[in-house]
């Protein structure tokens, strides 16, 4: 017999009615259901049900995020070594990366799980697996230097205000991970924005070596006043391959466009992410950037003239598109509304990046903004569909 099974079977009686921990029965069942699918059977037609459940659905998102964690651990250590002027020796790079990333992940999951378990126990419902996705996404959007207490505060805000007060996963209208991220951005801008926060400094160092550029490609793009932005990136050591692979100072695991591409294709293949949202996103980013470029004409600020597709190589745009916009709960439900939703997110992202110097990155705000409009887009498509539908009662 499986030892985990035996463990649950031996301790079950404490949690059953009359046991000394009977009040925590919900928690016990919640934890058991993580390891063993419940034995419940159907009570009404249809008598059989699909083998897909929400647990599996959400788990696939986490599978897609695992490479980002591997990359994030590497990149945090790699940038730290570059900033210290040390050769990036693999073992030491990974050690530095793990030391920075693992505590953030542990804190995020512990605090997130605490809130979810608290609400689940009080409301007597099961723990929804959406939590595990939110907690997997959240650290990847943070700078590696974020203090742990802020990480805890951010995920608390994201889970409680972004989700639980509306009733939990499925009833939230904002993306919980982004809600927490936005909270930190506005509450603690000193630790969440600027050029300094994106690079971890090795112990004993007060500043990076002179040869190291701490500026992110996005802030370089916003600051470039003459000449082409690609040249400015190249001078800072960011050629296009470096940008595509994501090997520059940025949020922990969000910088790699390559991994976002792989993850998005994976999620579309397994049917978790809707390609319509991603298509809308890409259309919005590329179309808006192209339109700005066309209208600006020669001689305008370099950011206005940036090649549209380069927007996808830098910052969190690719990460947001692959994992945040495709969250089905905070996106609209209907197919055309989803394309429109994606389009507006892409368009807003480019507009914020190019025209608003206060926000180097626009995608997080753009997604939260469009989350609020998702029901409206649904309503518009619904009305359009119902108008075309014949009804029995008219």
């Amino acid at each position: 017999m499986n030892p985990v099974r035996r463990f649950f079977d031996t301790h079950r009686h404490h949690f059953e009615p009359g046991g000394r921990l009977a009040r925590l029965g919900f928690l016990y069942e919640n934890i058991e259901s993580v390891f063993f699918a419940p034995a419940a059977v159907t009570a009404a037609a249809p008598q059989v049900r699909d083998t897909l459940d929400v647990k599996r659905y959400m788990f696939l998102v986490i599978v897609a995020l695992v490479p980002h964690y591997a990359f994030g651990v590497f990149n945090v250590g790699y940038q730290a070594h570059r900033a210290a002027g040390l050769p990036p020796e693999f073992g030491s790079v990974i050690a530095v990366g793990l030391k920075a990333v693992v505590p953030m992940v542990v804190v995020t999951y512990a605090v997130g799980y605490f809130w979810e378990a608290l609400f689940a126990t009080v409301r007597k419902h099961e723990i929804s697996e959406g939590l595990f996705v939110s907690c997997a996404l959240f650290p990847l959007t943070l700078p590696p230097t974020q203090p742990l207490w802020q990480v805890a505060l951010g995920i608390s805000f994201g889970i409680v205000i972004g989700k639980e007060i509306f009733g939990g996963t499925g009833r939230n209208f904002l993306n919980p991970a982004l809600t927490g991220r936005a909270f930190l951005y506005f509450a603690y801008p000193a630790q969440t924005s600027g050029d300094a926060v994106w690079t971890l400094l090795l112990p004993g160092r007060a500043a990076p070596v002179d040869a190291f550029t701490a500026a992110t490609p996005l802030s370089l793009a916003a600051l470039t006043e003459s000449g082409g932005i690609p040249q400015a990136w190249a001078e800072a050591g960011y050629d296009l391959w470096t940008l595509f692979l994501g090997l520059y100072p940025d949020a922990i695991g969000a910088s790699s466009t390559l991994l976002c591409l792989v993850g998005a294709l994976f999620l579309i293949t397994v049917g978790v992410a809707d390609w319509r949202i991603i298509a809308g996103d890409l259309l919005g980013v590329l179309g808006t950037a192209a339109a700005i470029r066309l209208l600006a004409g020669p001689g305008a600020a370099p950011y206005l003239l940036l090649d549209p597709w380069l927007h996808l190589l830098v910052g969190g745009a690719a990460f947001g598109i692959a994992y945040m916009t495709t969250d089905p709960v905070s996106a609209p439900a209907l197919p055309r509304a989803r394309v429109a939703y994606g389009f507006f997110i892409g368009a807003l992202t480019v507009l914020i990046r190019v025209f608003n110097p206060a926000f180097p990155e626009g995608i997080g705000i753009a997604i939260l903004f469009m989350n609020c409009f998702a029901p409206l887009l649904d309503e518009l498509e619904l009305r359009w569909r119902l108008k075309r539908r014949l009804s029995h009662v008219r």
Binding site: V41, A45, D53, G170, S391, V393
Partner: protein
């Protein structure tokens, strides 16, 4: 001939398809008329235990609609009247005599059919206790006797796993089918719309000329509700009648022979049936006797009267109800999943989604059971239900309208077009009982109309 390609839908890859064999189980010693699984019925008893009845004697009828008569499927002595929860009549059991007597009804031949008054024809079907085999859309209840439907749809195929194969149940009964179609034409004053599914009844050479429409597509493409949704424009045209092919044979047999029919062909299928196949059975036979000797060993089985998706769980002590054409045996599956099984690639997990490896190399069939396969969650808007819905309802939004009591909104969504196929509940990863919600809303609206 009209050809229609039905959109959406989903074909369940479940094991236990009945072979095209036809066996006859041992004759039962008792039969019953079942009321419990007919949701539209409010029965009033006409007999009491100990009464002698013949084949075709009245056992019970509906309180409000006396045309819904249910006659004894056998001759003998009423041995039990069984009640279910809230003292709802379940069934009236008749112990059979060695030599059964039968009530005699007037016979009808081809010439008589051409001459008979349509109202009289309707009254004969009512007298024979078979009016409940005709159903009216959208509520799928027996129609009022005096109503003239805009159309009558006779569907010969049923794609739900598993229903009788027309190649089996029509074999040697083609004349009877033609007579039945003539009956419907006489009764309603218009030729019935006869439908089959591509690859189904249309492949029978003698049947093909009778067809008016062949529907291609996945389950539930056979359902007349899908045809009406796709083909007929005006709302009033959708209040059509529907009759299943096997049921039409019963009506025709009764009118031709002048006796309440006693036998029909059913499909015995599902992963718990070994071997699955077709059976020619007594109407009202005990379910346990139908499955006797053909139950897969090893696990407790659930008896489902009807198909896998729309059928009702029934006790093994129950009996075959008049409109039921299938008995499905499903393993109960009431055991927890394996250790972290949900993380595995899932080569043997049947799913509508592409979330398991099985989607890439699907097996011909899977041994499915009644396990729910997951906990109940809030809707996550995966939109699978909207993608399988054959009549373009958006169940993920409609059920919210239903739960909020917004009947008007649910109706505008197409609630009444719902063919109650069960696919939305089947595919839901949050295990929401969408079919139940939509069905109950339809019933509540129906009750409002009275």
């Amino acid at each position: 001939m009209d050809r229609l390609h039905a959109k959406n839908g989903f074909t369940l890859r479940i094991g236990g398809r009945p072979a095209a064999t036809l066996d006859t189980p041992a004759a039962p010693r008792r039969v019953a008329a079942v009321a419990g699984r007919l949701p539209f019925l409010k029965p009033r008893l006409a007999v009491k235990p100990g009464d002698r009845v013949k084949i075709g004697s009245l056992l019970f009828a509906d309180k409000r609609r006396p045309e819904l008569r249910f006659l004894s499927p056998g001759g003998g002595c009423v041995s039990a009247v069984n009640y279910g929860p809230r003292r709802r009549l379940q069934e009236v059991v008749v112990d059979l005599d060695e030599e059964e007597e039968a009530e005699e009804f007037p016979r009808l031949d081809e010439a008589g059919l051409q001459a008979i008054d349509p109202a009289e024809l309707g009254r004969r079907i009512v007298a024979g206790g078979l009016w409940s085999l005709i159903r009216e859309l959208p509520f799928r209840e027996p129609p009022a006797l005096d109503r003239r439907p805009p159309a009558v749809v006779v569907f010969l195929d049923n794609l739900e796993p598993f229903h009788p194969d027309p190649r089996v149940y029509l074999a040697g009964r083609l004349e009877r089918l033609r007579f039945g179609l003539g009956v419907l034409e006489r009764l309603t004053g218009r030729p019935p719309v006869v439908t089959a599914c591509s690859g189904g009844a249309e492949t029978i050479a003698e049947v093909a000329p009778l067809l008016s429409c062949v529907v291609a597509g996945r389950y539930p493409a056979h359902d007349p509700g899908v045809l009406l949704y796709r083909r007929l424009g005006r709302p009033e045209e959708r209040a059509a009648w529907m009759v299943a092919g096997p049921d039409l044979l019963l009506i025709a047999e009764f009118l031709q022979e002048g006796r309440h029919p006693t036998r029909r062909v059913i499909a015995l299928g599902g992963p718990g049936a070994s071997p699955p196949g077709h059976l020619e059975v007594r109407l009202g036979a005990p379910l346990a006797e139908l499955a006797a000797g053909r139950e897969a060993s090893g696990e407790s089985l659930r008896y489902v009267a009807g198909g896998v998706l729309t059928g009702t769980a029934a006790s093994a002590d129950s009996f075959l109800a008049l409109p039921e054409k299938a008995l499905t045996l499903l393993p109960e599956g009431a055991r927890p999943g394996g250790f972290l099984e949900w993380m595995l690639p899932g080569r043997r997990k049947p799913s509508y989604s592409r979330a398991f490896l099985s989607s890439w190399r699907p097996a011909a069939s899977y041994p499915m059971d009644c396990n729910r396969h997951g906990g109940i969650r809030a809707c996550i808007q995966c939109a699978f239900c909207a993608r399988v819905c054959p009549v373009d309802i958006l169940p993920q939004l409609t059920y919210k309208a239903v739960l909020a009591g917004e009947t008007e909104e649910a109706l505008a969504h197409g609630l009444l077009d719902c063919v109650e196929c069960g696919l939305c509940s089947l595919v839901c990863p949050s295990k929401i009982e969408l079919l139940q919600a939509l069905r109950q809303a339809k019933e509540a609206f129906r009750a409002e109309m009275d």
